[in-house]
């Protein structure tokens, strides 16, 4: 499925120069970019373009990036990568909590951006039939579904990847760095709090009581591991 690699990318950014430059770079890497500059029109553009990935600037006229992110996430699990110039903690966390899979801080290098986009699209390449169990959850890796007592739980691709990574080796404690590398595709240690936010999101979906997690267990001082299956 190499064609997925060269996917459609929706760029939501109000800075025309940057959007154009992003277009040049993405086309150069073989992606098919489409553009929208206004937060209010972003959702319509998303529905129309059906992109494989969304590049989303946080600061937008009209609806802001957070809101757009939430709306897209409400109807699709498509990978969303945020572009942010605001490095303030709150902005980024709110962005991630609204459903973004990854974020990249301006100014970034084109290669870095492309690597992130590839990492988000990469997972579609490996459809291996596999059944995993973690706690009372049954994971069908190829079918991309998670079920508890026959009830399926909707997860975004990233959350699914995270859960699968943990469930494949339930005996192993994963440090945040390892998870960053396996799930996000970071070569070097990056911001480990990316992991924290997504683990919280994952827990809120798969745990019976997110306050007392049984599926994704925190190992204090080290990282996370899958709960007993």
């Amino acid at each position: 499925m190499m064609s997925f690699m060269k996917g459609r990318v929706l760029v939501v950014d109000d800075d025309t120069a940057l959007a154009e430059m992003l277009g040049i770079v993405l086309r150069g890497e073989g992606f098919e970019p489409s553009f929208v500059a206004d937060g209010d029109k972003a959702l319509a553009a998303f529905r129309e373009a059906k992109p494989d990935l969304v590049l989303l600037d946080l600061m937008l006229p009209g609806r802001d990036g957070i809101e757009v992110c939430r709306l897209i996430r409400a109807e699709s699990g498509v990978p969303i990568v945020m572009l942010t110039a605001k490095s303030d903690t709150v902005d980024v966390v709110v962005g991630l909590e609204s459903g973004a899979d990854d974020y990249i801080v301006k100014p970034f290098k084109p290669k870095e951006l492309v690597a992130r986009i590839r990492a988000r699209l990469r997972r579609s390449e490996e459809p291996a039939p596999e059944q995993l169990a973690i706690g009372d959850l049954v994971i069908d890796v190829a079918g991309h579904s998670v079920k508890r007592d026959g009830q399926s739980i909707a997860l975004t691709p990233l959350e699914f990847d995270l859960l699968v990574a943990l469930a494949r080796k339930p005996w192993q404690v994963f440090t945040r760095e390892v998870l960053l590398e396996q799930v996000w595709g970071y070569r070097h240690a990056a911001d480990t709090r990316l992991v924290n936010v997504h683990v919280q999101r994952l827990r809120s979906k798969v745990e019976k009581d997110p306050e007392r997690p049984e599926i994704v267990v925190t190992v204090r001082g080290v990282g996370y591991k899958a709960g007993p299956s």
Binding site: D15, A17, L18, M21, L22, I24, V25, G28, M59, A85, K86, S87, D88, T89, V92, V93, L96, Y103, I104, V105, K106, P107, F108, K109, P110, K111, E112, T175, E177, Y186, H188, A189, A190, D191, T192, R193, L194, N196, V197, V199, Q200, R220, G221
Partner: protein, 726 residues
């Protein structure tokens, strides 16, 4: 924080004089104790005395503390004592007056009574002489008259005392030096004549003819108790013309009773007055002290950050004025703080906005430059080179922008610590592997020591990693291809990581200045290497945020060592470091410069290392302090994300472990003292300000085993405490 070396220098130097004592303590001190304390015995028995004193003082300590701290108690106690004094004085004066008055009256009455009595006695004697000569017709012979006189005298005593009816008694005695055959002592009312009349009174009576008086006690022959009395005596002649002593004894029983009544009344009244005065003092002081205490409590709460606290003001008296002034002060304080907060918020927003506004176009430029850079093979050489320069300088620009933003975040107090327990070995491993390509290029081996056991501390992994990356990359860059050693250690409440290189080292005074912003060893050569000049400043701020220390040591040509010390738990103040700041293999410690016989150690440091002229080489190597690799974060803005449930610790207030209260130290270290002293002195000045001896003890001790070293540090600390306590 002590990494702020410049700031802690004064404290350090203040602690110096104590050093020699503190440093080679264990041996020499006990020796001295032995010499003075036990062998010479009495010369200095102060330890025993002190022990005794302490033993006596211990139970009193709470009382003493209460006394020191409670003004109400002080005032009441003082009032009680003083009024007691006044009442006692008054009592004595009054009682004296009353007694004199009572006695005077009694004595006057007694005197007239006695005078009358003496006259009667004389008259009776005369009468007896008259009747006797008439009856016998001849001068009485010695033997014959005796029975008569005896009888006469008994009668006399009886008749004289009959008028008294217990108001007085009469005693007759023969003169002291008189054989007085037959004229024995006589007394009325069972008075013991011999014991009741004092000897000296008798002598005075014998020696003159006038009436003499004295105070005495009447002794009774019966069981009756003795009582005080006025005795008036006179020499009177009996019918035979021979002298005898006649005494009137007036008991003072009545007066005694009156006096004791007065005394009792006065004592009761005095007691009441004293107690009442105490109570009044207590009440009055309470009136003043209560608002003062309230003010103190509110001031404490204010300083704890509850700025809306105010005093209750009633009335218009001085206390009310105090309250008003206090409230006004609090209000102004609140206003000012609010203004500052607003300002800081504005500044933060401004920085954030600027960063946003700068970053978006920079991103475009960056991407465009990269596209051009990637296509440079198609360009002519000049354009291709320009493309390279453009890309390179954009990197630098980005790094600089990121560092500036990071520093401004520290300045605005917006940096938050997200501490959780981490194993520093992991961090070190990551940093070392990250620096591996650079080390390879430089031909340097980075060795890690002390990573056999976990070195766990509550720390912010991202910040610690940034600090270490900076130190390791610096060490590799300036290590001239020699080994770089990263050493980990943990002891007591602290963990430390030291990065040692054997490059050009640091010149005198540079050990503190390396942490200054944009500081470069040699401005002339500043531009040759990249780096923003902010790396170590940020590292210092990161260490400070943890409540830790970042310190540097170096000797010209001998390499340098940067040491990061962090508390094991985030809030704990540091007391020492498990790794000595000056490495064991420094030139002085290796003994190269010890030929003068100067003992090693902090105290004599400056003398042992000669100041070396700044060579070309030395200045070249330290030009850049922040290689770009050190700060280029590939992914995220460094402070972007919070932890999950990690503790957020506010910016540590300097002072816990170190005297350095200065937040920023941008000026190239105004530390003339350190500079003039020579390199090592300057370098260790980076250590904990007032904990100088501690650090030093750790220093000496840890030449053996790091655990021991900490024990040494604590010991020194205690001793220092004790010294201070005295």
């Amino acid at each position: 924080m002590t990494g702020d070396s410049a700031a802690s220098a004064p404290g350090r130097s203040g602690a110096r004089p104590e050093r020699p004592v503190g440093r080679d303590m264990p041996g020499s001190r006990s020796a001295r104790l032995l010499e003075h304390g036990f062998l010479r015995g009495g010369v200095r028995n102060s330890p025993v005395l002190r022990l005794l004193l302490r033993w006596v003082r211990r139970p009193l300590l709470p009382v003493m503390r209460l006394w020191r701290r409670n003004i109400q108690l002080k005032v009441v106690a003082t009032t009680l004592l003083m009024s007691l004094g006044v009442v006692l004085l008054l009592g004595f004066v009054v009682i004296g007056q009353v007694r004199n008055g009572l006695l005077d009256a009694k004595v006057r009455a007694s005197q007239s009574q006695a005078t009358g009595g003496f006259a009667v006695a004389k008259q009776k004697a005369d009468e007896a002489v008259g009747s006797g000569s008439g009856a016998d017709g001849a001068a009485p012979a010695g033997g014959r008259g005796s029975p008569n006189v005896t009888e006469w005298m008994s009668e006399l005593v009886l008749s004289l005392s009959s008028g008294g009816q217990g108001a007085f008694d009469v005693v007759t005695l023969p003169p002291v030096n008189d054989s007085g055959g037959g004229r024995g002592p006589r007394a009325s009312g069972f008075v013991d004549p011999n014991k009741s009349i004092p000897e000296n009174l008798r002598e005075r009576v014998d020696s003159g003819t006038g009436a003499v008086q004295s105070y005495s006690r009447i002794m009774y022959l019966s069981d009756k108790e003795s009582q005080p009395a006025v005795v008036i005596g006179k020499q009177v002649n009996d019918p035979k013309g021979e002298a005898y002593e006649l005494y009137y004894l007036f008991p003072l029983t009545q007066e005694e009773k009156s006096l004791s009544l007065v005394k009792g009344t006065l004592a009761t009244a005095g007691l009441f007055v004293v107690v009442l005065l105490g109570a009044i003092a207590w009440l009055v002081v309470r009136q003043v002290v209560t608002p003062v205490r309230m003010a103190a409590g509110i001031a404490e709460r204010l300083s704890a950050g509850r700025l809306q606290e105010r005093m209750k003001v009633t009335g218009e008296d001085d206390i009310a004025r105090l309250g008003e002034a206090f409230n006004k002060m609090a209000q102004n304080l609140q206003l000012k703080i609010q203004q500052l907060e607003d300002l800081s918020r504005m500044q933060r927003r401004f920085v954030s906005d600027v960063s946003h506004e700068l970053r978006t176009p920079l991103t475009t430029v960056r991407m465009a430059a990269d596209v051009i850079h990637d296509a440079r093979v198609d360009f002519d050489p000049v354009t291709a080179r320009s493309a390279e320069l453009l890309a390179d300088q954009l990197d630098r620009f980005e790094t600089l922008l990121a560092d500036l933003l990071e520093i401004s975040r520290f300045d605005a107090g917006a940096a938050a610590l997200e501490a959780e327990p981490i194993d520093l070995r992991e961090v070190v491993r990551r940093v070392v592997s990250g620096a591996a390509p650079l080390a390879e290029r430089k031909g340097t081996t980075v060795r890690v020591l002390g990573d056999q056991q976990p070195v766990v501390a509550e720390a912010d992994a991202r910040r610690v990693e940034r600090v270490l990356r900076n130190l390791v990359v610096n060490a590799v860059e300036h290590g001239e291809g020699k080994d770089v050693i990263v050493k980990l250690a943990a002891a007591g409440g602290a963990v430390a990581i030291a990065v040692r290189d054997y490059g050009v080292g640091l010149k005198p005074g540079e050990a503190t200045r390396v942490f200054s912003r944009f500081w470069r060893a040699d401005p002339a050569r500043a531009r040759t290497t990249g780096g923003t000049g902010l790396g170590l400043s940020i590292a210092l701020e990161d260490a400070r945020l943890h409540g830790g220390w970042l310190q540097a040591w170096g000797e010209p040509g001998g390499g340098s060592q940067f040491r990061l010390t962090l508390p094991r738990t985030a809030d704990e103040p540091l007391r020492g470091s498990p790794i000595p700041l000056e490495p064991k293999d420094s030139r002085r410690n290796r003994g190269e410069l010890d030929d003068a016989g100067v003992p090693r150690g902090g105290g004599q440091k400056s003398a042992t290392v000669p100041a070396q002229p700044a060579t070309e080489q030395a200045s070249a190597a330290r030009t850049s302090l922040t290689p770009r690799t050190a700060t280029t974060s590939p992914t995220a803005d460094p402070t972007a994300l919070p932890g999950n449930g990690a503790r957020v610790v506010s910016r540590p207030v300097p002072g816990g472990g170190a005297g350095g209260a200065r937040q920023h130290d941008d000026e190239p270290a105004p530390r003339t003292t350190a500079d003039s002293r020579g390199p090592d002195r300057a370098d260790t000045a980076g250590a904990a300000g007032n904990l100088g001896p501690v650090d030093d003890a750790a220093h000496t001790a840890s030449r053996g085993n790091p655990d021991l070293s900490h024990a040494g540090a604590e010991g020194a600390d205690e001793q220092q405490e004790a010294r201070r306590g005295r």
